[in-house]
Symmetry: C2
Subunit: 310 residues, 2 copies
């Protein structure tokens, strides 16, 4: 799957992932109206509004980008109807040819991590048949429980040719509270990064491993170091745009081959129409505003990368 | 809610939580047969089997225990039908008067943690009404992202009078890989434990805070130290039974008042009938075997605690 992600990045010339992190306050009122009329002003109605909103955005941008990253929490908040739309969104994106990174940040002890990996990447055996639960292509994984929490994901990835991104240095302001604590004089995130590189050694598809890492755009200096520690790992970079990361911050997350990183933007794309810059599209044109924002993001990153090479 | 948990512990004389972590291999064949005939040999059928199995156990043990801890991964592996049964199990346990600890180990950056806490402990606003998603009483939280990943949970706990248990030192063999790394000469789990105590200071209900911690029964020495670092926090102790923790290992997790810890057993209770010791109940008597195992566990812990006081 990492190979497929690389192919798609090359084909679209866009190391970009659109974060499908819907919140009701982003969803245009005409879509909320349709959804509430159809399903009621309740969890089902909210989930339907999310679905209509997502579909509009996906249809408008799918040809420009290699991948999407639905954040499951934004669906889980609407209970079962929300998670049903998460699943529907995953399926629809895959039909559109997109690589789907489930941003689930799961992680538990061995047998429980096995259940998560089966449910999100693999299949569960019932009688003599196998069934897929959510069937994303990649998921994000929390490493706090150590190797035996991560390895069940690797096993399923090997079987299914899928991949994971392990949280190493997250984009939020207090990520340093534990991740930056010095262990033998070096921050914990470097130790986690070394483990990612090590787990990846046996999980190679040509020149990259399918054990990637999450490193926030808001920490470019740390990104530079982690890039060296994990040369064969793709870095999923959140925090661009709304969280403050800029194109010029991103260059160090990439390798010399121009690959090795994929930059996420969520509300900067999906709620672009609420920004002054894209206000001309209006609420009704929210999906076209998202398309314009993707094109601008692509340009911003391409410029930063070419300035580095130039 | 921590106050209610304490009342229930006193009333049942059992600082015990039963982990509802169903796996198909635990579910007696007569229940699988009914479920598959009813719903098909598919995700729906597997989820129905889980439901029938859970209901039998809950009905057999609810009067003996204060709380249950459904592990969401075991439901999530069956996709939407599985999560629907997770929700149904939460609701049923609450009807039976049990305190429900959702073992979800979520944790993310601020706005995303907010969505998880709303979905699992609080309510989401849709139009001018509020709706509950999963509505557990407590959830487990992963601290790797730091304070701004945890604080949204605290805010919802304050509003809803609920609580959390933060992962501090987990029960699995490789928990030490990151959690034991020395920071200024002290293991990381102590630093996390200090944070738990600090978060708890503003979250008190009488003598205990509703910010608890998870510390594995498999690490009694660490439990002793963490007990001192977090004197006002309840400790949720997994790893008893199947994972190797014994009654005598547990005493240090408790305070002098005989409170402060709640010990989880999952497969040791719910799959008791598969053990030699309870084989007399047979597959059909799986729920009665679970009841016998709860009574034995209660006795084991009571003996260990009275030996310590004596």
């Amino acid at each position: 799957m990492i190979h497929r992600l690389i192919d798609k990045i090359r084909q679209t010339q866009a190391p970009i992932v659109v974060g499908l992190d819907p919140m009701l306050k982003f969803i245009p009122s005409h879509l909320q109206k349709i959804a509430f009329e159809r399903c009621g002003r309740n969890l089902e109605g909210a989930a339907e509004a999310v679905w209509l909103y997502n579909k509009g955005i996906i249809d408008a941008v799918y040809d420009l980008i290699p991948a999407v990253k639905p954040q499951i929490a934004m669906y889980e908040q609407f209970g079962i109807p929300g998670l049903t739309v998460f699943h529907k969104t995953v399926e629809y994106c895959k039909q559109k040819g997109l690589v789907v990174i489930g941003d689930i940040k799961r992680g538990d002890i061995g047998s429980t991590s096995e259940a998560y990996s089966v449910g999100h990447l693999g299949k569960v055996r019932i009688g003599d048949q196998d069934f897929y639960g959510f069937d994303e292509d990649f998921v994000t994984v929390n490493p706090y429980l150590g190797s035996d929490g991560v390895k069940p994901f690797l096993k399923v990835c090997q079987e299914e040719k899928k991949g994971i991104f392990v949280l190493v240095k997250t984009s939020n302001p207090s990520s340093g509270e534990f991740q930056d604590r010095l262990v033998d004089g070096r921050p914990l995130y470097e130790i986690v990064g070394e483990k990612v590189a090590q787990w990846g050694e046996e999980c190679m598809e040509e020149s990259y491993s399918y054990v990637g890492a999450v490193v926030g755009a808001t920490y470019p200096e740390q990104g530079k170091i982690l890039r060296k520690i994990m040369p064969k790992s793709f870095i999923l970079v959140p925090g661009y745009g709304a969280q403050g990361g800029k194109g010029s911050d991103l260059v160090h997350f990439f390798n010399e081959d121009g690959l090795g990183a994929i930059v996420n933007s969520s509300r900067g794309i999906i709620a672009a129409y609420q920004q002054e810059k894209y206000a001309r599209f209006g609420e009704e044109g929210y999906a076209e505003a998202s398309r314009a924002a993707v094109l601008d993001m692509k340009e911003d990153i391409a410029q930063a990368l070419s300035a580095r090479l130039g």
